[in-house]
């Protein structure tokens, strides 16, 4: 565990060695272990211990230099301070962050803090291997057409985050996360090979229910083993919660105050208070939702993380802010800062409110279960997307898997054409979200 006294001493020693400067340090130390089961049934095991530190130094002109390094060693930090002091006059001269003060940083969420503080005892690598091997075997036996589980892993990670500065703001947090994924390949007689999987994440080894992951991964793959082709055309579309949040996340500039200031957003300052989506859509960033595993208590500036309303009944109500964007917008930081040479912002945990149900559209639609290749098929500044996906044709309630399909459209048009939202939220890797129905999108089918 990082000792706050040691960090305070480090800061004090640096200030003594380089009088007249202010600085802050943020970062984390991570220890993790991962096991994977190879197709030969042997194990692939790895472990690491890593430290990442971002050092920000304010010179006497209040200009700032930022250096990233991999150590909290005093001599290395001092060398980095010198580099930062040289960088400062050469870097940006406007809209500079100020050294955060404890009075502005807010109080961390106490219940989440208690949750986070209870870090779990790590399991032995043998226990991890046994748990994963059993799960892989179960998945292989789930259905005769399942041929293997080429992508699988079980990881446990202990993280110690910290923020500290020379004005006395000091925060630390320890947390643990255990995560897994199982991605299987299968092929039915006369059909093409298909792949599908599932994931799981908890804050303790014992809580991770591998049986559930196996069950969902197996059911999902089996559902895709007999795919059909359909004519390309316009179809009503339902996105699973995961697919909707993956797509929305690729257009993060919609909620980034930094992107708006940089003119790299589909929104402008004037968009706040305007309708951006169907009135059915309400969305918040909800880091302390009960399904959020090991939520961060503070951001890269040490500001307490909190829930932020983004969209209410289709109207843009809020943005992610750090201290500099908040100053520009005349508001307060929302605790979304990611600190680097240039500060950015990003989501913690989306929460799309449940609706009144999908209604009849669920009987005849294209169901998009999982969008793929977001890094290639999304043009975030153009607002457009054209993405391969895994999904189904649902016709009169009958569900058939699709292969070789893409879905294309514009995000702003899509958000305004939401026609229904399911009653039940799904847990996803990016937040919670119910399935979301859209009136019409372009679907291309291979062949």
């Amino acid at each position: 565990m990082l000792h706050t006294d040691e960090i305070k001493t480090l800061l004090s020693k640096i200030q003594s060695a380089r009088p007249g400067i202010e600085l802050d340090l943020s970062g984390s130390s991570v220890a993790d272990q991962t096991v994977k089961v190879k197709e030969s049934n042997t194990l692939d095991q790895s472990a690491s211990q890593r430290t990442g530190v971002t050092l920000r130094v304010w010179n006497s002109d209040k200009r700032i230099g930022v250096v990233q390094l991999t150590s909290l060693d005093f001599n290395e930090l001092l060398a980095a301070v010198d580099v930062a002091l040289e960088a400062a006059p050469l870097g940006p001269s406007e809209d500079l962050p100020r050294l955060p003060l404890a009075a502005d940083a807010g109080d961390v969420n106490s219940s989440a803090s208690a949750r986070s503080g209870a870090t779990a005892q790590p399991a032995s690598i043998e226990k991890m291997a046994e748990k994963l091997k059993t799960a892989v075997e179960q998945l292989k036996k789930f259905h005769p057409d399942i041929q293997g589980v080429p992508y699988n892993a079980l990881t446990q990670r202990a993280v110690e985050r910290f923020y500290a500065n020379t004005r006395g703001l000091m925060r630390t947090q320890a947390s643990s996360v255990v995560s897994t994924y199982l991605y299987a390949v299968g092929q039915a007689q006369g059909k093409s090979s298909r792949a599908a999987g599932h994931w799981g994440e908890e804050d303790a080894f014992e809580k991770l229910k591998m049986d559930d992951v196996v069950q969902v991964a197996g059911e999902t793959l089996v559902a895709h083993l007999h795919p059909i082709k359909i004519p390309s055309g316009q179809y009503p579309v339902i996105f699973s919660g995961q697919a909707f949040l993956d797509l929305l996340g690729a257009f993060g500039n919609l909620f980034s105050a930094q992107n708006i200031l940089d003119k790299q957003s589909l929104h402008t300052r004037e968009s706040l208070g305007q309708t951006m989506a169907s009135e059915l859509l309400s969305l918040s960033d909800d880091p302390f939702h009960e399904w959020s595993v090991a939520p961060a208590l503070f951001d890269g500036e040490g500001t307490a993380v909190r829930k932020t309303a983004l969209v209410e009944k289709g109207v843009l109500k809020g943005l992610w802010h750090h201290s500099v964007t908040a100053r520009s917008f005349g508001t307060q930081s929302t605790g979304h800062a990611r600190v680097g040479a240039k500060m950015t912002v990003g989501s913690w945990f989306y929460n799309v409110a449940a609706g009144n149900g999908l209604g009849s559209i669920a009987e005849n639609c294209i169901w998009v279960d999982d969008v793929e290749a977001l890094h290639a098929g999304v043009n975030a500044l153009q607002g457009s997307f054209s993405l391969p996906f895994k999904g189904f044709r649902i016709e009169n309630g009958k569900k058939s898997s699709l292969e070789g399909v893409t879905v294309a459209g514009d995000i702003l048009t899509l958000l305004k054409s939401i026609v229904a939202i399911d009653k039940k939220q799904e847990r996803t890797s990016a937040g919670v979200c119910p399935p979301v129905a859209v009136s019409s999108l372009s679907i291309t089918c291979e062949g």
Binding site: A80, A376, A408
Partner: protein, 491 residues
């Protein structure tokens, strides 16, 4: 004294506690041979230690102002041990004797080996004389010869100004330059002891253009390996010219109609089609996972007879070139496919040990946190006999893909990639520009449909993300024709 940021970041590492004399080399021999011997005595069949020091600098501008100067330094080590068919990998930031001992013992523990007493005398593994690839090309001088922040800022601001003058309906512009200097040392229980220095540099510009409801965003980049003065000397005008020309046609381009098209793909980054559709499937990591349809295809026809393809690490200055791979093996040229017949795989040490294919100098990783894996370097399709115009003229209707975006390949060989700039082909001629196309298909199918190659091969730099992280690569090809492919777009 020269300012650190102008010329000599590396001097900041002089104080790093474990770097001993400030650089990797002979001074590490006693400790590494001792640790490797310790691993061998404890039961490991093979072990390898990878040390890495990194010094990067990125400068960015937005809308005519410097918005970021980002130096970073990192140190790390990775220890890999094999026993029978098992292997483990442990990484750490701590390069002290104690830190490396911890990493070796962790690895041995995970392999089920009992850790023996670490002897303080004797060199248990006899390492070969150091193969110093850095000395051969005077690479120790590279870092000091790189452009400093002032020079980079000046060049980027000039490019930003030029974008403002030349790009219509410009809403915002971003330029950036980075250099990534990396020193590595590899020591292994088979005696390998090798050092190298790598230097990757890249200049990039991007724009966002808006006119009413019409939007487009574009970017271009130039990159090099092992050329210290690259960022000071590279001509940035073509970046601006290409962006301006593309913005002019793409801002009001219609979305492509979904369907099946014959396709002509431009050279340079068009090579991403081979990278995604076939290259990944020739890596031995895919054979191990049983996720390639080509595992048993050596010597067999897997592509159209017009197709010959290479993967190599030797082209001077190319982004994927390496004098040695991350397992200490010198770079090679590897003929992958010859006239449609599979000749070789892309093979790392583990792939060679498990499948018997000869190593191809392809063991690569993003950094010390990743175990090396078989990865592509400079991968390209060889030129053919046609001209690009002949390929276009051979299509009654079709799609011409001038600029490609990224792509990916899945566990069943299904690939996809995005098209940044495309034109319809009608009656053998290019007509209107279209956007929003995604090409999809399966590797086995598409490789047989690449039916003609032009004579104008060019390479383009890129990044490849996979099992051992994100690495520098080059893709390339001449203009080529695909008889038929599914184009995802608007229906």
């Amino acid at each position: 004294m020269r300012p650190l940021l102008e010329r000599d970041f590396d001097s900041s590492f002089a104080s790093v506690r474990a770097a001993q004399d400030g650089s990797f080399g002979e001074s590490w021999r006693p400790l590494l041979s001792l640790l490797l011997g310790h691993a061998r005595r404890s039961g490991a069949d093979f072990s390898e230690i990878f040390l890495e020091k990194r010094n990067t600098l990125r400068v960015s501008t937005e809308n005519g102002k410097v918005t970021s100067v980002a130096p970073s330094f990192s140190l790390g080590a990775g220890v890999r041990c094999f026993k029978g068919s098992q292997d483990v990998y442990v990484s750490t930031n701590d390069l002290s004797r104690e830190g490396l001992r911890w990493a070796v013992d962790q690895a041995l523990g995970m392999l089920g080996c009992s850790s023996r007493m670490l002897s303080s005398i004797g060199r248990d593994v006899q390492l070969e004389p150091l193969r110093d690839f850095a000395v051969l090309k005077r690479k120790d001088e590279w870092l000091a010869a790189c452009a400093g922040v002032g020079a980079l800022s000046e060049r980027l601001l000039a490019m930003s100004s030029s974008l403002n003058k030349n790009v219509a309906h410009l809403q915002s512009d971003q330029t950036s330059a980075f250099r990534d200097w990396q020193e590595v040392l590899v020591a292994a229980s088979d005696g390998v002891f090798a050092r190298d220095i790598r230097l990757h540099q890249l200049a990039r510009a991007g724009v966002n253009c808006v006119d009413g409801t019409h939007r487009t965003s574009l970017h271009e980049q130039r990159a090099s390996t092992g050329q210290p003065r690259f960022l000071e000397e590279v001509d940035l005008n073509p970046i601006v010219d290409e962006i301006a020309a593309s913005a002019k046609v793409m801002l009001r381009a219609d979305y492509v109609s979904a369907g099946q098209y014959p396709l002509v793909m431009a050279n340079r980054f068009g090579g991403v089609i081979f990278h995604e559709a076939c290259g990944h499937l020739l890596e031995t990591t895919q054979i191990e996972r049983k996720t390639t349809p080509f595992a048993d295809s050596l010597g067999k026809q897997i592509a159209h007879e017009s197709l010959t393809a290479w993967d190599e690490g030797v082209t001077e200055g190319a982004f994927g070139s390496t004098d040695m791979d991350d397992e200490g093996m010198p770079a090679q040229s590897t003929l992958l496919i010859e006239n449609g017949i599979l000749r070789n795989f892309i093979v790392d040490r583990a792939g060679s040990m498990r499948f018997g294919h000869p190593r191809s100098g392809s063991g690569r990783r993003q950094n010390f946190a990743f175990a090396p894996a078989s990865r592509m370097r400079n991968t390209f399709i060889a030129p053919g006999k046609f001209t690009p115009e002949e390929l276009i003229a051979s299509c009654e209707t079709g799609l011409y893909c001038k600029k490609m975006g990224g792509g990916s390949v899945g566990a069943t060989g299904e690939f996809n990639f995005a098209v940044g700039e495309a034109y319809l082909i009608e009656k053998g001629k290019l007509t209107k520009p279209v956007k929003g196309a995604t090409l999809i298909g399966t590797a086995v199918d598409i490789m047989k449909k690449i039916s003609a190659c032009a004579n104008d091969i060019e390479l383009a730099p890129g990044f490849c993300g996979s099992v051992s992280g994100t690495i520098y690569t080059t893709v390339g090809q001449p203009h080529l024709k695909v008889d038929n492919i599914t184009v995802g777009g608007r229906a």
